[in-house]
């Protein structure tokens, strides 16, 4: 038995169009991957001596790490149906707190990082509490916390970097080695991405987040404790932003008040864009990784082909819009 709608749809297509249309639709989940491949191919042809090299790949990898980590952090509450816009500021607070504890209070590295990660988780939890308990819109609320955290950042660092009294050698050891030729920050990103993928896609908690993100009332009506789970998503998001801040500290070997807040828009864009790959309409980790690669390869490629310095933002914007439009056009269902 075929539903009436389907029959109508099929009839409205000319017979010759059906196979092509079907193939295109089936490929839609991979539209962004295809776009990424096309991008790499294009820059390899335009800059054959500089783009397809280990050196440029290292640049991509290095600059992807922090953006990638903060995107993963943003992704988790997003999957559970909420936005935590304060996370990029949490990143900065984390790295500054750890740096400050070591520099001003002579803490050792491990307790300093542990304490700052706890703080990051706690900030996520507070955001979650506000949103879940008082049912206030998460975007506006967390923009509020974002603003507060910016002030905290200024207070912690007075606009300067914190570098005195940090265990520079240890920090360098945690970021500079290249096992298997891969920069350590990239490995941190890969491990974190795996963990987030595992939790969001392979555990009941992740599936519950996904259900809440799709329809909170429906989730409640199948017995999911939505409030508690959203709280967990916010806390986990905070923790991941803390990880991003920690890796940033390792990489820069100092606490900087400048890295973080500016990642809000690129991070959010990549997280949103994740829904345009693999599982269309659903935020997912693999999609986020492809989105980040799409952006970073583009930026690096532009630099290497000698495009003017301001062109990368134009390129990023265009890529993101193009990716959305291409996938939309390939889809048939809506």
């Amino acid at each position: 038995m075929t539903s009436a709608n389907e029959t109508l749809n099929d009839l409205s297509l000319k017979t010759s169009e059906i196979p092509r249309k079907k193939r295109l639709t089936q490929m839609a989940p991979y539209g962004m991957v295809i776009l990424l491949a096309a991008e790499i191919l294009m820059f390899s042809l335009l800059a054959p001596k500089t783009f397809p090299t280990t050196a440029s790949m290292n640049v991509v990898a290095n600059s992807s790490a922090i953006l990638g980590l903060i995107t993963l952090a943003l992704l988790v509450p997003l999957i559970a149906g909420e936005i935590d816009a304060s996370l990029p500021a949490v990143l900065t607070v984390t790295s500054l707190t750890a740096a400050s504890l070591m520099s001003h209070y002579s803490w050792a590295l491990v307790p300093a990082v542990g304490a700052s990660l706890t703080l990051a988780t706690l900030i996520g939890l507070i955001n979650g509490f506000l949103v879940v308990r008082f049912k206030v819109p998460s975007l506006i609320t967390t923009l509020g916390t974002f603003t507060i955290l910016i002030a905290v950042i200024t207070g912690l660092a007075s606009g300067r970097v914190i570098e005195d009294g940090l265990p520079a050698d240890t920090l360098a050891m945690l970021s500079e080695p290249k096992p298997l030729g891969l920069p350590l920050p990239l490995i941190y990103l890969a491990v974190t991405a795996f963990v987030v993928w595992y939790i969001t896609e392979q555990t009941p908690v992740g599936r519950h987040w996904k259900a809440i993100g799709s329809s909170e009332p429906s989730a409640r009506m199948v017995g999911i404790k939505t409030g508690r789970l959203q709280l967990m998503a916010f806390a986990f998001g905070g923790f991941l932003a803390g990880i991003a801040g920690t890796v940033q500290l390792f990489r820069a070997q100092l606490g900087s008040p400048n890295v973080g807040p500016d990642l809000l828009f690129p991070g959010l864009t990549a997280a949103f864009l994740s829904a345009a790959a693999f599982k269309l309409g659903v935020y997912n980790v693999r999609g986020a990784i492809v989105a980040i690669a799409l952006v970073q390869f583009g930026i690096t490629g532009l630099i290497l082909t000698g495009a003017p310095y301001w062109s990368d933002q134009i390129f990023t914007g265009c890529t993101l819009i193009a990716a959305l439009v291409v996938v939309r056009l390939m889809r048939s269902d809506r």
Binding site: M1, T2, S3, A4, N5, E201, Q202, T203, P204, R207, H208, K210, A211, S214, S215, P217, S218, A219, R220, M221, V222, G223, I224, K225, L280, G281, V282, D333, R334
Partner: protein, 513 residues
């Protein structure tokens, strides 16, 4: 203006002649003839699918029609020309705007030299309008969302009244009492009578027989897209109107379903003096193996009762007992653990995850069972979904297809499968037939009967009284948040259910609860 006597033929304000309307090749309205006179309330009645809303939409200009003519005050009907004022079923107000703004959105603002809105004058005009309608209690600056349902309805009426002042001749009210408690309906009627005295002609759409008989002068009944009759209220009886709406003589109930042996069984779920939002003192017993129908008009509280039983709402008073033991659900999860399932009224709002796969939807109520050795087994999930697809005849047979891409009937089958898997002791189905084609509906009812035969207790909320007649061992009726009637045995037939749901005809119930 004086009240117009029916002895003298009043001016005809609205004239519908031989109106026909088809949608995608299906004739919805056939040859409708219909008129409204000045100072008259003309009631329009009919069951679901009778064509009432299509007729209203033709009058509002939302639909064009292929045959026939409509004239208002002698002029042909033009879309959006303001000839007819409407109070829509959902009122059509913007909650975040004020009373004054809502009224002016459709009728224009009082503006000054630079098209600036003169707020003071604006408020005065609206204030005067409201007090003319006998409702100076509503402040023009209040936000719609801060008003109660009665006041909102009055604002919608005031907005229509403003259109009438600006030249509209006829007022159409589409179930304006749907969200009103009984005692407030009188007040609304007072307002409508004031309008009537000014010579306005009204079309009044309602399911409530008692209201129609109280308010209107003539009644027209639609059925299956055709006009069955137009008659004076003084010549009509409630039973006769219901008969015309149903299209059949009142007949004896067919022999059906297995007689129930519930005499000595203990109820699996029972409530005592249960109260909640919109629910008052409900005593209801559900027995194993029993299929109980729950009927009531919109706003009667059927959905709210279902939510109370499922833990989606917390009772404010009274008690619920499961197998004789009092229980207090804090969350649907508690009810599910106790073996209660709920198929929600609007599956798109709170019954499904549209962009997720069918298999994920089916697994959603308990995903933990697929979590083994640290991984979710997609394979086990899909295997189970495939079993359900087979058993419930879901088409197309694709477990990994998006839920939204299935037809309504197949979606509902999947939702049913999700609950049946739990082997529920009590399964509540809130309007399980909405947006479901007839084949799927039969399949769903059959599954429900099988569950009942296995000992589950089924509670069905539905407006399809013929289906309830065929399915139910008992039908309980809600009105204004209370259980007001109960039909058992031979008394369960479509006609009796209709009459009872409309609040008419006291029917002797077979058993006291």
């Amino acid at each position: 203006m004086t009240t117009i006597s029916h002895a003298v033929p009043a001016t005809t304000l609205l004239e519908v002649q031989n109106l026909s309307k088809s949608l995608v090749g299906v004739q919805i309205l056939k040859d409708i003839n219909f008129s409204v006179r000045s100072g008259e309330v003309h009631a329009l009645m009919g069951g679901n699918g009778a064509g009432k809303s299509t007729l209203i939409k033709c009058l509002s200009g939302y639909w064009s029609f292929e045959a026939g003519s409509v004239t208002v005050g002698g002029q042909p009907l033009e879309p959006n020309a303001g000839q007819i004022a409407f109070v829509q079923q959902d009122l059509g107000l913007v909650p975040s705007l004020s009373v004054s703004e809502n009224i002016s959105l459709s009728n224009g603002f009082e503006t000054g030299l630079f098209q600036n809105i003169k707020w003071k004058e604006q408020a005065d005009v609206v204030g005067a309008l409201l007090s003319d309608l006998g409702h100076s209690d509503i402040h023009p600056e209040s936000k719609i969302r801060d008003l109660n349902p009665v006041q909102r309805t009055i604002v919608a009426v005031a907005r229509a009244a403003q259109s009438l002042r600006q030249g509209a001749k006829v007022l159409v009210l589409d179930e304006p009492t749907a969200s009103l408690p009984v005692d407030e309906i009188d007040r609304l009627f007072g307002t409508l009578n004031r309008l009537r005295e000014t010579g306005v002609g009204m079309i009044y759409v309602s399911h409530h027989l008692s209201e129609v008989f109280e308010l209107s002068d003539r009644i027209s009944v639609l059925r299956g897209g055709g006009l069955v009759s137009t008659q004076k209220v003084s010549d009509a009886t409630e039973d006769h109107i219901v008969e015309q709406m149903l299209g059949q003589k009142v007949q004896k109930a067919k022999t059906k379903k297995d007689a129930l042996r519930l005499v000595e069984t203990q109820p699996v779920l029972s409530t005592k003096k249960l109260c909640g939002s919109r629910i008052q003192d409900v005593d209801l017993d559900l027995h194993p193996g029993e299929i109980v129908g729950l009927v009531g008009l919109q706003g009667a509280g059927c959905t709210e009762l279902a939510e109370l039983l499922f833990g989606a709402q917390i009772p404010s008073a009274g008690e619920i007992a499961l197998n004789g033991k009092p229980i207090a659900f804090q969350h649907p999860a508690d009810a599910m653990r106790a073996g209660i399932g709920l198929i929600t009224e609007d599956r798109h709002v709170n019954g499904s995850f549209l962009e997720h796969d069918l298999s994920e939807n089916m697994a959603a109520s308990d995903i933990r069972r697929f979590f083994k050795a640290g991984w979710l087994s997609k394979k086990a999930e899909v295997a189970e979904a495939s079993d359900h697809i087979e058993r419930f005849g879901i088409v197309p047979q694709e477990a990994d297809r998006k839920f939204a891409a299935f037809s309504g009937g197949n979606q509902q089958k999947a939702i049913l499968a999700k609950w049946v898997r739990m082997a529920p002791k009590v399964l509540i189905c809130d309007q399980p037939d909405i947006g479901v084609d007839i084949g799927a509906k039969q399949a769903i009812y059959q599954s429900l009967q099988e569950e009942a035969a296995k000992g589950a207790s089924i509670l069905i909320i539905s407006n399809q009284y013929d289906d309830l007649e065929a399915l139910c061992h008992r039908v309980v009726v809600m009105q204004g948040g209370r259980l007001v009637n109960e039909l058992t045995g031979e008394n369960i037939n479509e006609h009796n259910i209709s009459v009872a749901a409309l609040g008419g005809g006291a029917i002797v119930s077979g058993a006291a609860s």
